[in-house]
Amino acid sequence: MPDDVPITDEDRLIYQLTIHRDLVGWTIGKLDKSGVIAKRTTGNDPRGDIVIVNPNDASKVQEIIGKIHNQYNSLTPIESQFTVDRITTNQPHIEIKSTYLFGKGINEIIETGTAIAVVSANKISQPGKAKLFQAGIAYAENIPLSEFMDVESQE
């Protein structure tokens, strides 16, 4: 969206929806390339945006998301030793975000008990990343819009 075009809040909400939908599609495409089948959740499913069809793929998914994070971010000391106990669930889901993630937003993801990874087009706060790490949830932040916008066809 060009900077010089005045946009309303309605436009901005719709734009957030587009970012979110495209990032879901891009993430599913990345997993598919690694042989992991994942699908968009539908309706008001509070468990997350993407469901991993085979729960046994959960740790593979976390490794893929970790690699995606490393691709777009410089490693911090805590991230370079991602050997924390991974969360175990028989309903593994991925959470997709497009705005700054911090505080209660992090807690809500952890409390689902089903989120194994977070993929965000925006920043995750440093304490937030530490909490996700401790909860055994992988994350990838700061995914550039240019990487995933308008990639619906990849699904």
């Binding site: 734009y15 957030q16 979110h20 309706g43 008001n44 975000k97 440093q126």
Partner: protein, 121 residues
């Protein structure tokens, strides 16, 4: 999933309501998106300084948002009661009341005068 966040003047305390794409889409296409205008403001959150687009919850804006969510909850409760019938299963109950619970959470945050800003984008 999406977060609708609420902040005090300096950022903290804050709260957020985690909602599904389906509810966010509904909000985006409703009059909710037309109440107030988001402006970038520097806030202190989780020990970090961040610039976020927020709507200032002036008396007028807060009132309009409160009316919006109250109306939405009344409408939704009618729909939910019709759908649930007399003996819903636990799953049906959880599924059908999800949206109403989220609208109630949003209303509580809007009515909490400790929060001075709303972030929806």
């Amino acid at each position: 999933m999406f977060d609708i966040s609420f902040y005090a003047v300096n950022g903290e305390p804050s709260d957020c309501v985690r909602i599904t794409e389906s509810i966010y889409e509904w909000l985006a296409k409703s009059s909710f998106a037309k109440i107030g205008i988001s402006m970038d403001i520097q806030l202190h959150l989780d020990g970090e300084e961040v610039l976020l687009p927020v709507v200032e919850l002036s008396h007028d804006i807060r009132q309009k948002l409160r009316d919006f969510f109250r109306d939405a909850i009344i409408n939704e409760s009618g729909t939910v009661l019709t759908k649930l019938g007399d003996s819903p299963s636990k799953e049906e109950y959880q599924q059908e009341t999800y949206c109403m619970k989220k609208l109630l959470e949003l209303l509580k945050c809007v009515e909490n005068e400790n929060y001075q800003y709303l972030q929806r984008v």
